[in-house]
Symmetry: C2
DNA sequence: CTGAATGTTTACAGATCTCTGAAATGTCTA
DNA sequence: TAGACATTTCAGAGATCTGTAAACATTCAG
């Protein structure tokens, strides 16, 4: 099957992009493997084999992906192995997690102003920074929330577009 | 002066955050040095001394920051040395640059659908991904544009908030 | 309770990336 | 054109990070 190879290639390529964005490499590969798999869910052994990585790496990857809401453990019916799958809304969760950085930037700006004072060149620069990140936070958070509502409304998935 | 030390500490802390977000460490330090300096602009030598890094590192940092629109070379009045300063709108430019990743994600989703087909579990997952990043692109780009207009309107800076 | 199968943790090896130091390049003055 | 000063480039040392292998813990069948 040639299609399978194309899928593998696409998965690896996307993993590379995610890695570029700060995600650990093996973690990104696990993520894209779960995205591109034809199965409903994959076991740790499946991932290990599919990606040719150690079980330790799989374990670490899951440990990183699960708390971010990107991947979830699925109750295995009749199997002792844990099954994992990409979570519904994974991408918006990923985005939210990146937004956490905006809060940090906002706080940093405020702290800077506290230390430097609101006047002078430094104060002015910090003020622009604070304004920007405040604006972004106020706009982005509701934006993502709106997406979530909108998407869970058309739960079927196929008709969501 | 104790204030100076507080500023240095704040700058370093922010640099660490930026580095966490993928920016090179020395590059991030140069960025925050330019943000926190009391001067209007800094020379490469200033940066080298302030941060205790080599001139090569400074050069590399500028080379990375300038194309992103975060830092600009300022015409030096009567000095042969180049002067640098944080650009107006640096933060929104940084954000825009991160948004470029959204486009990549969007394209990746489309390519995936091409390879996997729109039906089946894989197609459905990719579809959600595509929908999300399409939505984000459509919303985020105008959002930032709006900020830019809004901010350049109150050009003074001090009264911009 | 025992044994087997699976999942997790950790020290270490390998790879990767970053920064330094020095040479090369460029730019301006006289 | 020569000379001085500033910046850029680049090979290699150093630090950092990632993944593996193996020990350890846990869960479940019999």
């Amino acid at each position: 099957m040639d299609t399978n190879q194309r899928l593998r290639a696409a998965a690896e390529k996307l993993a590379l992009t995610l890695a570029q964005g700060g995600m650990q490499r093996a973690t990104a590969r696990v993520m894209t493997a779960l995205l591109y798999t034809g199965k409903e869910s994959m076991t740790a052994a499946d991932l290990r084999e599919e990606l040719s990585i150690s079980s330790g790496a799989v374990s670490t990857a899951i440990k990183q992906l699960a708390p971010l809401g990107l991947v979830e453990r699925v109750p295995a019916p009749g199997s002792r192995r844990d099954h994992y799958r990409l979570r519904q809304g994974a991408w918006s969760n990923l985005m939210s997690q990146q937004n956490a950085l905006l809060t940090v930037m906002c706080d940093a700006a405020r702290e800077g102003i506290d230390a430097a004072g609101a006047d002078g060149v430094t104060g002015r620069r910090l003020h622009e920074m604070q304004d920007f990140y405040t604006y972004m936070l106020e706009e982005l958070v509701p934006l993502i929330d709106r997406w979530r509502e909108q998407y869970t409304a058309g739960t079927g998935g196929a008709s969501a577009g």
